[in-house]
Amino acid sequence: DTAVSQTPKYLVTQMGNDKSIKCEQNLGHDTMYWYKQDSKKFLKIMFSYNNKELIINETVPNRFSPKSPDKAHLNLHINSLELGDSAVYFCASSQAGTSGYNEQFFGPGTRLTVL
């Protein structure tokens, strides 16, 4: 059983298009996250949701819109894609994010390539 799954695994698209990435976790966690990993492997948090409520928004352009229909799902919609959006996007989940010790479980990543 996959704990944190993402679809699609690969996404190749043209500049200006709109695309979505989906994430699901079956761990019963309350908190979910989106991270962006750039070409130099640097990982940075983008958003976090706790029980469908946005709790962290790290000054990401408003072309990026997360949506959490329920606490097991966190989707990422990107409008008007730009070349600089090319990256690997990771979804993660953890138990309620108020404890600094909570391990985050990561999905396999979605490699987005914008042409």
């Binding site: 640097f42 990982l43 948090i45 709790i55 600094g100 479980f105």
Partner: protein, 116 residues
């Protein structure tokens, strides 16, 4: 503000020799620290975490890390490298985000190469 610095971007070792991946942290309060590993084209997996219960933390696959407050370090070690250890390793600190929730701050990563 919380941050981590991984002192080496690349480390190369021979199979069977010790591994040392260095990490220094900066934190205005008692930190929560983690090491994650990322194998090529894979997601991230937790190796170990420091929870203030013990300064020497043992993780999976024979890895361990020692929290040294006086040196603000959390170096990752393994006595004997295996070919399967070749991967990217991230030192991570937990920081306070909005509304009292925590977020992970990642170091830049250290690529470990293991050669026969």
């Amino acid at each position: 503000a919380q941050s981590v610095t991984q002192l080496d971007s690349h480390v190369s070792v021979s199979e069977g020799t010790p591994v040392l991946l260095r990490c220094n942290y900066s934190s205005s309060y008692s930190p929560s620290l983690f090491w994650y590993v990322q194998h090529p084209n894979k997601g991230l997996q937790l190796l170990l975490k420091y929870t203030s219960a013990a300064t020497l933390v043992k993780g999976i696959n024979g890895f361990e890390a020692e929290f040294k407050k006086s040196e603000t370090s959390f170096h990752l070690t393994k006595p004997s490298a295996h070919m399967s250890d070749a991967a990217e390793y991230f030192c991570v600190v937990s920081a306070r985000g909005g509304g009292g929730y925590n977020k992970l701050i990642f170091g830049a990563g250290t690529r470990l190469a293991v050669h026969p």
